[in-house]
C-alpha cells in the first residue's frame, strides 16, 4: 500500500471558471511539504477541493489517499479516512464547546455504542493541550465564537492533534497571526510532525517556513505547481520574488 497523499492532474472549477489546471503533487507520510504562491494562484482552492467543499467542481484528475481515490466521497468520509484541513477562516459554532465538539468528532470515527470514555478523553485532551501550550480553560469556550485570529488557529492545531489525521493540509495558517501566535502555532505543528503524518503547509509568505521547516517546497502559479525543490527554494523565492517563477510557468 502506498503511503502518500497524491494529487494527479487535478482540475477544478467554481461557477464554471477553472482554477486548478492540472496540478501534480505527492506528499509522502512523514514529510512536511510547503506550497508557496501568490494570492489568486489557487492555493486555497486546492485545499477546499481536497476536502470536498460543495462549491467546487472537479473537472479532471484525481486525489489519492494512500492509493485510494477520495474524490466523490462526502467531506466527512474524507475526514474519517484521515484527511484534515486546518482552515484559513475557521467557522464559529455558537453554544458548542471545543471539548464537546472534539468528542463528537472522535465519536464519529468509532462504531456506534463504542463512544470514547469521558475520563480517557479528557486525559488525552489535556495531554495534547499541555503539549501545545494551550490553557485548559480554552476547551470550555464555544468553538471559535469570539476568538482572536491566533486563538482560532491554535484551535485548529489542537483539533489536528486530537484527530491524528494521516494527512493534514494547513491553509494559510499564518495569516492574521502576530509573531508570538505564529511561534505557538508553529511549535504545535512541529510537535505533531512524525512518521505517521504527512503535512502540506500552504502559505503566501516565507516567514512561516522559518518556523515550520519543510522537507520540500513547491511553488504554485496559476493553478499549477511550476517548481519544486528543497527548503532553500523558499529563501530563493523570497529573494527573487514570484516574477521569477512566473516566467518559468510561461516557458
Amino acid at each position: 500500500m502506498k503511503s502518500t497523499l497524491e494529487i494527479k492532474g487535478l482540475k477544478a472549477a467554481i461557477n464554471g471558471t477553472e482554477i486548478l489546471h492540472g496540478l501534480n503533487l505527492t506528499v509522502p507520510k512523514g514529510e512536511v511539504h510547503a506550497i508557496m504562491g501568490k494570492n489568486g494562484s489557487g492555493k486555497s482552492t486546492l485545499a477546499k477541493v481536497m476536502a470536498g467543499h460543495p462549491d467546487y467542481e472537479v473537472t479532471g484528475g484525481d486525489v489519492l489517499l494512500d492509493g485510494k481515490t477520495i474524490l466523490g466521497l462526502d467531506p466527512d468520509v474524507r475526514a474519517r479516512e484521515g484527511l484534515f484541513l486546518a482552515f484559513q477562516y475557521p467557522s464559529e459554532i455558537p453554544g458548542v464547546t471545543i471539548a464537546n465538539f472534539m468528542r463528537a468528532a472522535l465519536n464519529a470515527r468509532r462504531p456506534e455504542g463504542q463512544e470514547v470514555d469521558a475520563v480517557e478523553y479528557y486525559n488525552e485532551l489535556y495531554k495534547k493541550m499541555d503539549l501545545l501550550k494551550i490553557d485548559r480553560s480554552f476547551t470550555s469556550r464555544a468553538v471559535n465564537d469570539g476568538f482572536s485570529g491566533g486563538e482560532k488557529k491554535k484551535n485548529e492545531i489542537l483539533q489536528m492533534a486530537m484527530l491524528e489525521p494521516k494527512y493534514a493540509v494547513l491553509d494559510e495558517t499564518d495569516s492574521g497571526l502576530d509573531i508570538d501566535a505564529l511561534k505557538i502555532v508553529s511549535h504545535g505543528v512541529n510537535s505533531l510532525r512524525g512518521p505517521k503524518m504527512g503535512i502540506l503547509v500552504i502559505t503566501h509568505y516565507q516567514r512561516l517556513l522559518d518556523y515550520i521547516v519543510p522537507d520540500v517546497v513547491h511553488v504554485m502559479v496559476d493553478g499549477r505547481i511550476v517548481k519544486s525543490g528543497p527548503k532553500e527554494l523558499a529563501l530563493e523565492m523570497e529573494k527573487k520574488g514570484y516574477d521569477w517563477v512566473e516566467n518559468l510557468a510561461t516557458v
Partner: protein, 473 residues
C-alpha cells in the same frame, strides 16, 4: 424486580419517530364520532360526573359552538380541523390502576416502550400515564403521599377533593378564554389534579405522560395544580402519538396556582407525530412572592398553538417561560408566552428559542402587560430564531404594553442561520451532515437547556438528534 425490566428497552437508534406505533383498538367505552349534547351525557355517565360538572360541560359546549376560530392569527390551517370527524372519548375504564401489573397488556407495553416505568423507578416521585381519554396508571410514592400531597386524575380530583378542586377549577382559565379552552371544558377527561400542602417541598418531580393511541381521536386532558403557601413542586409532562394519515387533535387546559411564597415548575417535552393539531391553553396564577416557571419544549405536531402565561397577582411574584420550538418540514410551531403583571414589583422573564428546518415555520407570539398604576415591575424578553436552509420561515410578534413610570422592559431578538460553511467545517472534522446540524441546533439551545433538570436536557438532546437525522436527505 418487576417484569418490566426484562422487556425490550426503547432502542435509541431504531427509528426517527420512536412514538410511531399503535396497538389495535379495544375500548370498553367509546363516545362515537362527532360532538353533541349526547356525547357529553355519555362522557358524564361513564365518569359518573356530579351534576355541576355536567352543567359546566354543557355550558362550555354552547360557548365552544358560539366562538369563532382564531383565524385572524397566523394560520388558516385551523380551518382544516373538522370537529365532527373526531372521537371525543375512548377508554378501557375510567379508573386508573395503582400498579403496572394491573394495567392492560397493550397499554402497559406502550408505556414500557416509552420507558415510563423505568423513569418512575429512577427519579420520579409519582407517575400518571394517560392512554387516550383516561389514565391507565397513576401512582405516587408513599413517602410523598404521606406528606399530604395529592396526585390524582381530574375525575378523582373533582370527586374526592371538591373543596380544593372547585375553588380553582376554571378560575385561571375561564371556559370562554378561547374556542379550544371551551372545547376542553366541554369534553375534558384525564390530566392531573395536584395539591401540595403548605410548606411541603416535593423533592422529586411528579410526571404525567400523555399517549394518543387511536385514530381520528381528540385528547382533552385537564390539569389543575395548586401549590400552597411556601410549598414547592416540579411537574413534568411528556406526550407522543402514532403517525396516522388522518388528523389527531390534542387540546389540553392546564391551570396552575402558586400561593404565597410557593414555587412551581412545569416542564413539557412533547414529541407529537406530524398529524397532530396541538392547541393548548396553559396559564398560572402567581400570588405574593411566589414563582411559576414554564419550561416548554415543542417538537413535532402539524400545528402547535401554545402560549403559556403567568398572571402575576401578588406583590413580588415572579413568572418565567423558557421555551424551545423545533419546526421541521411541513410543521408550524406558533408558540410564545404571556405575562400579565397585576401587582407591584412583579418580574417576568421570557426566553424563546425556535428552530425552523426545511419548510418548517416557527412563530413567536408574546404578550407582556404592565398597567399604569404599578411600580417596580420588570420584564425581560429574548427571542432567538435559528433557520436551517432558505425555505424556512420565522416570525416574531412581541406585544409589550408598559404604562407608568418605574417599570422596566427589555426586549432582544435575533435570527441566525446555520451556514453551509459551518456545516462544511464540521463535516471536515468527520461529522455527518445530520450530526453537524444536530450539533448546531444543540449549541443554539444549549444555554437554555442548561437550566433544565438533567433528565430532561438529556431527553431533549436525544429528540433533537433524531429530528435532525431525519431532516437530512
Amino acid at each position: 424486580m418487576s417484569e418490566a425490566t426484562t422487556i425490550e428497552k426503547p432502542d435509541l437508534k431504531i427509528d426517527q419517530d420512536e412514538g410511531n406505533f399503535s396497538y389495535p383498538e379495544d375500548y370498553a367505552f367509546d363516545a362515537g364520532t362527532g360532538l353533541t349534547e349526547k356525547t357529553i351525557d355519555y362522557i358524564c355517565d361513564v365518569k359518573e360526573d356530579p351534576d355541576w360538572v355536567r352543567e359546566f360541560r354543557k355550558k362550555a359546549l354552547r360557548i365552544f359552538r358560539e366562538k369563532p376560530l382564531p383565524t385572524h392569527w397566523a394560520s388558516k390551517d385551523l380551518e382544516n380541523i373538522h370537529f365532527d370527524d373526531f372521537r371525543y372519548y375512548l377508554s378501557k375504564g375510567a379508573k386508573p390502576k395503582r400498579t403496572w401489573d394491573e394495567v392492560p397488556d397493550d397499554v402497559k407495553r406502550t408505556f414500557e416502550r416509552l420507558g415510563i416505568p423505568e423513569k418512575e423507578r429512577a427519579f420520579l416521585a409519582g407517575v400518571e400515564a394517560q392512554f387516550d381519554s383516561e389514565a391507565a396508571y397513576s401512582n405516587i410514592k408513599k413517602a410523598v403521599a404521606e406528606q399530604g400531597v395529592i396526585f390524582v386524575g381530574s375525575r378523582e380530583g373533582l370527586k374526592e377533593h371538591p373543596e380544593i378542586f372547585r375553588k380553582w377549577f376554571g378560575k385561571v382559565i375561564p371556559t370562554a378564554d378561547n374556542k379550544f379552552s371551551a372545547l376542553n371544558s366541554a369534553v375534558f377527561s384525564g390530566g392531573s389534579f395536584i395539591y401540595v400542602p403548605k410548606g411541603v417541598k416535593v423533592k422529586h418531580p411528579l410526571q404525567a405522560y400523555f399517549r394518543i393511541n387511536a385514530e381520528n381521536f381528540g385528547q382533552f386532558e385537564r390539569t389543575l395544580i395548586i401549590v400552597d403557601e411556601g410549598a414547592e413542586l416540579t411537574y413534568m409532562e411528556g406526550c407522543t402519538a402514532p403517525k396516522f394519515d388522518s388528523v389527531t387533535l390534542h387540546s389540553a387546559v392546564v391551570e396552575l396556582v402558586a400561593m404565597k411564597g410557593a414555587k412551581l415548575q412545569y416542564i413539557t417535552v412533547q414529541n407529537w407525530s406530524p398529524n397532530v393539531f396541538n392547541l393548548v391553553t396553559k396559564r398560572g396564577l402567581a400570588h405574593e412572592e411566589s414563582e411559576i416557571k414554564w419550561i416548554d419544549c415543542n417538537i413535532g405536531s402539524r400545528l402547535t398553538m401554545k402560549y403559556p402565561g403567568v398572571i402575576l397577582k401578588g406583590r413580588k411574584a415572579r413568572g418565567e417561560v423558557l421555551s424551545i420550538a423545533l419546526a421541521n418540514n411541513g410543521q408550524h410551531q406558533d408558540t410564545g408566552a404571556k405575562m400579565i403583571h397585576a401587582a407591584d414589583e412583579t418580574t417576568s422573564n421570557i426566553i424563546s428559542k425556535s428552530i425552523s428546518i426545511g419548510s418548517g415555520r416557527a412563530t413567536y407570539r408574546g404578550l407582556v402587560h404592565i398597567p399604569r398604576h404599578l411600580k417596580g415591575c420588570k420584564n425581560n424578553t429574548e427571542c432567538d430564531a435559528l433557520l436551517i436552509n432558505t425555505e424556512s420561515r420565522t416570525d416574531t410578534y412581541p406585544a409589550i404594553v408598559t404604562r407608568g413610570e418605574g417599570n422596566s422592559v427589555q426586549h432582544e431578538a435575533s435570527v441566525s442561520k446555520v451556514s453551509a460553511e459551518q456545516i462544511f467545517y464540521m463535516q471536515q472534522r468527520g461529522l455527518s451532515e445530520g450530526q453537524a446540524m444536530s450539533l448546531s441546533v444543540n449549541g443554539f439551545v444549549n444555554e437554555l437547556v442548561r437550566q433544565f433538570p438533567m433528565e430532561y436536557s438529556v431527553e431533549l438532546k436525544r429528540l433533537i438528534d433524531l429530528e435532525m437525522e431525519g431532516s437530512v436527505g
